[in-house]
Amino acid sequence: MPVLRGIDLRIDPGEVVGIVGPNGSGKSTLLRILATLLRPTDGSVSVLGSRTGSEGILAARSGIALLGHHPGLWGELTLEENLTFVARMAGASTDGVAAALEQVGLGGAKQRRADHSSHGMQRRVEFARVLLIKPQLLLLDEAHAGLDRAAQMLVNVTVSDVRRRGGAVVLVSHEPDRMLPLVDRTYHLDGGTLLSNGQAP
């Protein structure tokens, strides 16, 4: 049984798009398809100018950042080592690691191991990663979940940073209230189908 049906969606550079819907509506699946981590069984997806399944998508992937429910950190590494590793793998400079950690309020905790850090701190490292590698497409899955008020401001800062650089942002949430101030357009997803057509909030 298909999770998503009849999705027709275009997101332009510099746009911030919100997708709201109840649990199980297919939001995370849509986000993973946009991240090129899942391939649709039918239809086609083009991300950053490359079609999913083509050779070009491999290069395009390095311009995508996905912040999901579980932070992609290595527990035995310190917060700084995690970011340094990411920067080196992405071919980015490691000069900005300390500044990115300062920016998300983790300057004093950079030597702390990831598995000795709270979930909120791990989420902050994810935002530091985005600030460091500067993706062209940022995909945020329930970005505000599990964050305190100060950390929630990081969502705004990060989204603004990507938008300012001409990148696109997609936020999905089942709680639209905190997301709406950030987005240009909102889609409602239910039962795998887009019910609204990109209304301004």
């Binding site: 992609g72 080196r88 071919g91």
Partner: protein, 226 residues
């Protein structure tokens, strides 16, 4: 991806794996002591039969290196969680670079394992002076490399499968047996002062074949594991 970027990713993956292993201690602080204990069991069982101990010593070293070495090559700390895998994919990591980097880290850990086990074997079994013994260093390297390759390849094949823990030994056992047999035959040939070229060639060819398979299948395996 340029060759320089590829090898840079290989270096970073290997460095990360070694750093994680150094802190988790799964191989160095758990598997190595147990491997040494396993080597002690046979002398305790055989007693003071020195000629017999000398005869079985190298074989015991190879068997323990194989059995416990697979635990190192297939250690839990080298397995990425789904979010980590997705992050690596979105960072543009070449799956072949992941394979080579992970295999390089495992090879180094296995060489450390063998370097600890070798003197323990000499002390416990006193195998005597084996003619042309420096060739054994090459065998130890090829065995470590082979086990690392087999373990990394099995890890790639079973990544994302629920039956990973069951399927891995089934994949690893048939692939590692030729490594054990060829290594044992080299020791035997050295003792008899016979030619070892055939067995060394077999070890090297097998390693090269697994390496090529691992590199070529890295991307399709990575794509299918999601």
């Amino acid at each position: 991806m340029s060759g320089r970027a590829f090898w840079s990713q290989v270096k970073e993956i290997a460095r990360k794996d070694l750093l994680i292993e150094g802190r988790a201690g799964e191989a160095l602080f758990i598997t190595i002591p147990f491997g040494a204990v396993a080597l002690m069991l046979i002398p305790l069982a055989i007693g003071t039969d020195k000629p017999l101990l000398a005869q079985v010593g190298p074989g015991m070293f190879l068997a323990v290196a194989l059995l416990f070495g697979m635990l190192i090559a297939f250690r839990q700390t080298a397995a990425d969680t789904p979010p980590q895998k997705e992050l690596l994919t979105l960072l543009g990591t070449d799956p072949a670079a992941q394979f080579v980097g992970r295999m390089a880290a495992s090879t180094l850990l296995l060489l450390i394992f063998e370097a600890v086990l070798a003197p323990v074997t000499v002390i416990l079994y006193n195998p005597g002076r084996i003619p042309r013994w420096p060739w054994l260093l090459l065998v130890m390297f090829l065995l470590a490399l082979g086990l690392a390759l087999v373990g990394t390849l099995a890890g790639s094949v079973t990544a994302g499968l629920r039956t990973r823990n069951t399927l891995t030994p089934l994949l690893v056992a048939p692939l590692s047996m030729p490594l054990l047999l060829a290594s044992a035959q080299v020791v035997e040939a050295l003792r008899k002062e016979a030619s070892i070229l055939l067995w060394i060639t077999l070890l090297a060819t097998m390693n090269l074949t697994i390496a090529v398979i691992g590199v070529v299948t890295a991307r399709p395996l990575e794509e299918s594991s999601r």
